[in-house]
Symmetry: C2
Subunit: 329 residues, 2 copies
């Protein structure tokens, strides 16, 4: 059996080197956060579990980055700039020091890349699989928080980036999509393993969005949630939905993959609405932006999400979203 | 098989009724916290796992309260008043709606009792045992945060409450302590199942303590951590350590239980030091306090914790603290 150092020595060795200023190199029970004047804190907590959100043999660096990035995606959708994280690291039965070292290294790289401070947390054994729960705190100016509750009929719907890669990446990770080129396969799997949260879009979101959320459970299902929360409906144009070349190639091989692309999970793109009075200025801005923003539809009165094809015909889906609760029962 | 509603409907039904003001009844991805002027936030995160920190058949209400209270204990030790919590609820394989309803009810009762707002969090399946990770945020005035790093030789050591009940309660929960009266048995088990964090001591701690931490892994081991962090030593008087009547009765039946009482886990009392210049005022104050504070020893130069018996002889322990990492390997 591998050597298993104590919880205390692990924390000291691997996590203390990137402790936040207020965290006393994790030699204390807690950490102090001194809020900046005029700023609110935005808090979110997402957890990922072995066998549900990641595979047992995924590289620990990538598991750490995924655990962090799913939270950064939530913050970005609220218009918040990430500042602090707290980590509960539930070590699975199979843990060893190497696993912890690689996990800590992945987390450290991302904390540096996104300029985030680790305030502390907890390390414990689960007796079964690994469970990682990160709580993230971001900052927004007072009154700039963007909820998903204020979409109005007539608002225009946008998404960042491209949709469906991660859902097809999960499929590709489980079984090759038959006929798909290796380069496309690798692209999709990477999009599944390593989300790219739209942290740089946060400022634009807080300036222009009337409602916003991140897409973690599939575009259609998450748009339904936004519509329910705002008490509106939505009309999407299928041909406007942005797909990567790899996803387009996969769909051209198996046409039913388009449904999976729209209803599968793990996009970690931002879905948001822009009100009419801000639309011209917003479209001006995004034409010169490095971030891809795509106009995919419109908010309507009523309820529910309708997807229309090129000919204006309604497209029906079997299942609108991906359920991460881990029950196939 | 029991009916298993979706994650979304569970959150709505059981947790949304006690969402914080900034949490939009959990219909949003995150919550907004508007900090109070002149206050810092104190963040801590402790997780508990089935089979490690609680038993599979413990009542869900008590599991919820324990998951919360271990965090409140950390906040109290830092001098912080609890304000917000975020919950990651990892549902074990055996979950059903009844379990969630009872868990939510326990959490709601405690949020009301301690005046805490639930900002949100995450619900997910673990595929194995239950894992509950709570992140708690408390408030202290700027510059009032109490770390465990500033104990100085000559400071006086105090603890709140009584030591060892929970460690003996865990023993009693696993096997009756032979000869122990039912009433003592029940008292100890309850102290194990339901920690009583010293939230009301927070104000006193921030006014008087030079260093402070909560006792979660045993008095001796945690005092060693405080001493390491402050680069000092400590001398404890065994006869001063406060034991409940039930613990005294247990020790009188099996004398080796005194070691377990001092080195076992889950006390959730506060261990703190008071500098000489504040000692007289502090002792005045506690003589009229409803909270029990006991003078148990002194901070010394050097390092390590020494425990002395009535005759001034050194007492040796086999193991100084309880390791929650769940490995007996």
């Amino acid at each position: 059996m591998n050597s298993r150092p104590s919880e205390f020595s692990i924390i000291k060795k691997y996590f203390a080197p990137f402790a936040s200023q207020g965290a006393f190199e994790f030699r204390d029970d807690a950490a102090e956060i001194i809020p900046n004047e005029g700023k609110s804190l935005v808090i979110t907590q997402d957890a990922i579990a072995e066998g549900i959100h990641f595979f047992s043999d995924d590289p620990p660096e990538l598991i750490a980055k995924k655990a962090l990035r799913v939270n950064l995606s939530d913050l970005a959708a609220k218009g918040a700039t990430p500042k602090y994280i707290s980590l509960a690291l539930g070590l699975g039965k199979t843990w060893n020091e190497q696993w912890v070292a690689e996990f800590a290294n992945g987390l450290k790289e991302d904390c540096e890349a996104y300029d985030i401070q680790l305030t502390g947390g907890d390390t414990f054994g689960t007796g079964a699989g690994f469970v990682i729960s990160i709580t993230a705190l971001g900052e927004v100016p007072h009154d700039a928080y963007v909820s998903r509750l204020n979409a109005k009929a007539g608002d225009t719907l946008f998404v960042t980036g491209e949709i469906g890669d991660a859902a097809l990446g999960l499929l590709a990770h489980e079984r090759q999509i038959s006929g798909l080129k290796n380069v496309d396969n690798a692209y999709l799997i990477n999009r599944y393993l390593l989300p790219q949260p739209r942290v740089k879009a946060a400022e634009i979101i807080r300036e222009f969005a009337s409602a916003s959320m991140d897409i973690s459970d599939g575009l259609i299902g998450d748009l339904e949630k936004l519509c329910q929360a705002s008490e509106v409906g939505a009309a999407l144009k299928f041909q406007n939905i942005p797909f990567s070349q790899a996803t387009q190639n996969a769909i051209s091989l198996e046409s039913n993959l388009s449904e999976i692309a729209l209803t599968g999970g793990d996009d970690y793109e931002i879905l948001f609405t822009v009100a009419e009075d801000k639309l011209i200025k917003f479209e001006d801005l995004i034409s010169g932006s490095k971030i891809q923003f795509t106009h995919i539809g419109t908010i309507t009165i009523g309820q529910g999400v309708k997807v229309f094809d090129r000919d204006g015909q309604l497209i029906e889906f079997e299942k609108s979203s991906y359920d991460h609760s881990g029950d196939s029962s």
